[in-house]
Symmetry: C2
Subunit: 284 residues, 2 copies
């Protein structure tokens, strides 16, 4: 495995491999790798000759007061995991490599990024689209894999790909969960053992909504109350949002027809957690 730390070297490597006709698969991450990330590496591998994984904790997608400085950075463990999972190149730039002091170009998605996490994390997706476009230009992948746990991020990036005609195919990676159902996230390690137990309400709430759907319920207000009921039973949970939105446009819906994304964001103590599922119904 090669470790590349400069933009120039990464870009040169990519251009050279592409000239040789190699297909590059890309997994952009913020490090603190877990099984979820490694499943994305597998997906990338299945669709390409060479897999690049990037680790970059992107300062411009964190808002003031968020966890940028304390975001976990277990460098050596991440390197071992990359090596073990067959990553060909680990791209590991520092902030100075990625942002000039007078950096002045941003990419903004203005429709899909307004609601859900965008409503409370204003400016977050601007940071995400900008860094992802930069990474695409540096790694020059044919395919890139993004986890479905960050449901809105995935759709915002797909919209950027479409609207800027970026010649990269996005492969969504299914959510990987702990045996008890908690969606894997680098931020899970912030949780105390008690909070870790409380966090299971996310999956319980989504399971409950899926059960309601199977029983024929289609009204979003009813489903929302059912879902909120599950979360409310855990006193430590503060709900940030419970949203039922069209899977493509991310606009709120009143009934569950075709594909509807149910997305949740909660806080437990100092930790913000998200989870989601896509409700599929036969067309009524």
């Amino acid at each position: 495995m090669e470790i590349i730390r400069t933009v120039r070297e990464m870009q040169r490597w990519a251009l050279e491999e592409k000239r040789k006709g190699r297909f590059i698969g890309f997994v952009p991450t913020m490090g603190c790798l877990h099984e979820g990330h490694l499943s994305l590496v597998k997906l990338a591998r299945s669709r390409s000759d060479l897999v690049v994984l990037s680790i970059f904790v992107n300062p411009i997608q964190f808002l003031p007061g968020e966890d940028f400085s304390r975001y976990p950075r277990p460098v050596e463990r991440d390197e071992s995991l990359c090596l073990e999972s067959g990553v060909d190149v680990l791209f590991y730039p520092d902030s100075a490599q990625m942002y000039a002091p007078d950096h002045s170009v941003i990419i903004e998605e203005t429709l899909l990024s307004r609601g859900l996490c965008g409503a409370t994390r204003s400016g977050h997706f601007k940071g995400v689209t900008t860094v992802v476009a930069k990474l695409f230009n540096i790694v020059i992948p044919d395919v890139a894999v993004f986890g479905q746990k960050d449901a809105q991020q995935l759709r915002v990036i797909q919209r950027m790909i479409r609207d800027l005609n970026i010649p990269v195919e996005i492969i969504p990676g299914p959510i990987v969960r702990e045996p008890d159902g908690l969606a894997m996230s680098s931020r899970n390690r912030y949780l105390t053992p008690a909070e870790r137990q409380d966090a299971l309400c996310l999956r319980r709430a989504l399971d409950h909504v899926e059960k309601c759907i199977q029983e024929g319920e289609r009204d979003v207000e009813t489903l929302r109350k059912e879902l909120a009921g599950v979360l409310d039973r855990v006193p430590a949970v503060r709900v940030e949002y419970i949203e039922f939105v069209d899977d493509e446009t991310l606009q709120p819906v009143k009934r569950v027809e075709r594909l509807v994304l149910v997305a949740l964001a909660i806080r437990i103590g100092l930790t913000r957690l998200i989870d989601n599922t896509v409700l599929m119904t036969r067309q009524d």
Copy 2:
């Protein structure tokens, strides 16, 4: 010469040629081609195996009330000129190809695009950076040529290239002038014969400033007065701006040291014209 009208086909062509190891040179234009554009084609040709020229009158870089609808579109003449000048592919998309009805991603440069034309044409450069990034992703060039007549545009694009790590080399094309000194522009055809004569004041003014520089003048306020004096002698001319800025940062300067861009924008009748020169001084 191949004429390609769809994004999909253009991108496929580009990816295929790149896999064969071909270098693609790119000249993005809004059509109504003149000698200035053809000089850019020559530059592109000198640095690549294949030259793509695009013609697209980009709606989102025109402000309300500007000349989008009346912008000249002499389709057949443009095609002949491309053919004669050895363009390999003419990329000729329509607006529906370039912008989905729910297009929602923009690229914005926030420092260099504020002054000069950006001060009066708010939002113009957002349209330029967005469409140029799109075209780069569609044509996937190795080099792209932009004329120095649009001095601010050139620098904003170079900044975008730097800040988004776009793997395209920008080649600046020198201003091409009519025999009498008027910088070539598709908009010159808006001018009546009398206005056409009046427009020569632009070059006269720049020549005069260069003469002042040769005679040792370095103070920008003095130079600005000298320059304004030349323009003021033509009653039909309304000055939009006269700016002396650092050639790289586009920030106003007080003295001419090293590279200073003098940029002018005027209106004559309904027509807006720009011109510029870079003042070079031995370091005093």
